[in-house]
Amino acid sequence: MINEKTAPALNIKDLCVAYQQEGEWWEAVHEVSLQIQPGEIYGLVGESGSGKTTLALAVLRYLGKNGMIRQGKIELSGVDLVQLQPAEMRKLWGHQMALIPQNPQSSLNPAMRVGDQIAEVYRHTQDMETGEARHKAVEMLREVNIPDPGRVTLSYPHQLSGGMQQRVLIAMALSSNPSLLILDEPTTNLDVTTQATILDLLRSLIEQRQTAALYITHNLAVVAQMCRRAGVLYAGRLVEEAFINELFARPLHPYTQGLLESMPRLGDHKDSVRLRAIEGRAPVFGDIPSGCVFRPRCPIANEICETNPPLSVLPEGRKVRCHRWEVSLNEAGRSHLPDGRSDRNTTEKHQLQPLLSLEGVSVHYPLKRSLREVVRREPKRAVRAVEGMDLKILSGQTLGLVGESGSGKSTLARATLGVVDKTAGTIELLGIQLPDKLSRRTLDTLRKVQSVFQNPEEALNPYLTVGEILQRPMMTLLGWSRQEAIGRVPDLLRAVRLPAMYAERLPTQLSGGEKQRVAIARASAAKPNLLICDEPVSALDVSVQASILNLLEDLQAEHGNSLLFISHDMAVVGFLADTIAVIYLGELVEIAETGDLFKSPYHPYTEALLSAIPGTKVESRRVAAPLVGEIPSPIEKPGGCPFHSRCPRLVGEICKRQPPPWQSQQGSSKRYLCHIPWEELQAQQGDIQGFEISRG
């Protein structure tokens, strides 16, 4: 087991790393010290730009030409890496240290079979014969639970799914049995169900091998699940370090507190909880505040914070870099709303008018047939992105749409918007059928349905000012004159909590969160009845997400518009939505009012989604097996129940042959599509709760 007394596998002392940008050097990592014991997984938490990847690359001595270690030591098993020549480092790579990178797709050579990519480690670093190296590669793939490893060695990376690619990379990294493993967001781009299996795999492998691991991530939940100790990095400084339960139970640094409290937990709802957002934006290169770097965003900062805070070392191995950590300890906590806050709930749901109703909507993308298929007269195939979808959104309500990537949730939104043609079904807005084509919709229809997109970087035209961007919808959709529209711009900005002077800025001068606010302002400028938000926060940093969610909620309260909110994140959807629809392979599998959704029984897919969330607790009477395999191709959808190929609660042949019926029960708004009846399923499942490490 981990012994604090033994020499650490990795010992970083006072490390400063600088990057050169346009001729100037900027410090990305400042005086960071940390130790990792053999067999320990150390979590390093930070948002984008916090310097966490720089730290990883510095440890690997792989900074590139424009990076430089300014001072400090990096001792790996007692050897100071900073002093080594590049050629000596190359001997350590693959033997002593290995990296599991963030983006598996681009981290594998696209032109080389994966077996060869693993085997060459053995051949070139361990002087193995080709045949033996191949054999070892197969073995290694088996070890990372890849089915049919012999076949996979012959595949090219693009033929594998993201999860498989990441397994290959794990196999590659572990092939030389390194003493230090660096994991740089290894599951960030994976679906939540895949992420769960990869995390399990990683943890067991690291435990087996007694490797020291530095786990870098922005995801606190993952850290909670994986690590023994964790450090929080902000603007290149390690602001807090503690054992995991301590960190989550009693965060000392205001930033850590902010991170923990800005994200909704599973089961939180806007009616009862107000998210605590961290205001302001993360510092960028060349704009690091003096004194405490967190000062401008800190709710409890005072004059003393203008000086550099010392690193306070506390008992139980805790460290915090804050002048006022004692104060912050008392101020922490999330603001629970008084009970009467949600007046919307007073109106009975059935009295509300349906604003938008989808009936039997299908979207198929026809595929071009290959020559062979044409010759063989095979039928034309299509990507069946959305299939027979029935949904309603009530006025002033929020419908949440959840599903993994490829489930068709975005396609559904785009069909509603009119940018994608539906294949079948009707879409009615306030009882009037909408034409498919955007060009055939009236300006008034356009006005009524507006949208906020996932990627704020692409949402705004980089060549127009914020003011110009915001005027347009009022001019085109409301028919206002330019003057009138310009006059409204400050109000719009104020509504999204941006200063009026932002009207003159170009999008490139805004941070990601600010861009998303402008996008929301634009979408709401013409007072739409329905706002469609497709993953509006998934591209944003944790600390910024909360403010966007709060903003959406506030705007809805003010305008009474409906919201179609799409996300892969159960907690976020659960927080915002009144009703949640779970979709799988383009089909609705479960729908319920938010309160009912988190109560058992669940559709097995919903159950899998919920239990895959890191840190969730399952009070289960029979723990379901994790999901098997990958999401099937929407071209060759399985017959019967669409989920049968991966279902851990498969009943039998009936699932493969017969489409399942809707199951529902009096007293619950929940409906789910499954062969297993209500009670039976409920008996198998327990309620699932989000992670909550009780305070104190």
């Binding site: 918007l417 940018v419 356009l446 000012t465 961007i469 919808p473 310009i486 003159e504 170009l506 013409a526």
Partner: protein, 289 residues
């Protein structure tokens, strides 16, 4: 009001300041300087050339470079320096004008074809593919065979040869831009086609277009000079550098200077424009990173 009048110039300034970054790269700075110098010479040429382009002196033919004739005289007694100087205007006008026209046509077609897509796009692209299946010079020669040799024909040829290339480049950028959120947002706002094409999409095409224009321009100089050299482009006594090389080649042993100076001028100008294009590429590529 006041908040908005500030916006437009800032955009202009941004583009100019981008261009100013050309001077950060030494090679690009050199290239740009060369280009600007040639441009200046071309503009001032008619005033500073000591002799006319076709001014002949039969007693002073085939004279080596001297203080009287800096670059010597050719076989017809014309001052090579003046001809090179005046030729700068000619070649810049033709290649620049042709390039700009082609860029205008190509941009318009590329924008429309890329944004609208469908059968129109398919048709235009197939047609352009076919045009591009002929080497540029051969297409030019065929066309000049029809049009007859003249400066205007050269201009038309440049437009026909380069429009497909520019259109394809523009189209590929449009295809990547049109799926971005802000274009979709504009469509959802009911913006007109013109606004979407020119205000939403075009600005994102401009960096690529600037590089492409510079590259086309350098090829354009090449093409105009080559057609002159082959004798099918602009007609004598035009001081086209390619034509001058062709004419001087006959007398290379007598008046080598009449060949080397225009040849050198083409080379330096094309190198300059190439370096400039390379610089533009670097600027706009680093911006995308």
């Amino acid at each position: 009001m006041a908040t908005h009048t500030g916006a437009a110039p800032s955009r202009g300034r941004r583009f100019v300041s981008q261009l100013r970054r050309l001077y950060a790269v030494p090679t690009a700075a050199f290239g740009t300087t060369v280009f600007v110098l040639f441009l200046a010479l071309a503009l001032l040429g008619p005033w500073i050339a000591p002799y006319g382009a076709n001014q002949q002196d039969y007693q002073g033919a085939r004279m080596a470079p001297s203080s009287l004739h800096w670059f010597g005289t050719d076989h017809l007694g014309r001052d090579v320096f003046s001809r090179v100087l005046l030729g700068a205007g000619e070649i810049l006008w033709l290649s620049g004008g042709g390039t700009l026209l082609a860029v205008l046509c190509g941009t318009a077609i590329g924008l429309l074809s890329g944004y609208l897509g469908g059968w129109l796009d398919e048709l235009i692209m197939r047609l352009f593919d076919s045009l591009l299946a002929l080497p540029a010079l051969l297409l030019a020669l065929l066309m000049l065979g029809i049009l007859g040799a003249s400066a205007w024909s050269v201009l038309i040829v440049m437009v026909v040869v380069y429009t497909p290339i520019v259109a394809r480049v523009v189209r590929s950028v449009v295809l990547s831009v049109k799926t971005r959120g802000f274009v979709e947002a504009a469509r959802l706002q009911g913006e007109s086609l013109g606004w979407i094409l020119f205000r939403e999409i075009l600005p994102s095409v401009l960096p690529t277009l600037a590089v492409e224009t510079a590259v086309r321009f350098s090829y354009g100089i090449f093409l105009v000079a080559s057609l002159g050299f082959l004798g099918v482009g602009v007609q004598p006594p035009s001081p086209n550098w390619g034509l001058m090389v062709k004419e001087a080649r006959q007398t290379i042993s007598q008046t080598p200077w009449a060949l080397y100076y225009p040849a050198g001028a083409i080379s330096i100008l094309v190198i300059g424009v190439n370096l400039m294009a390379d610089g533009l590429k670097r600027i706009f590529q680093t911006r995308h990173d």
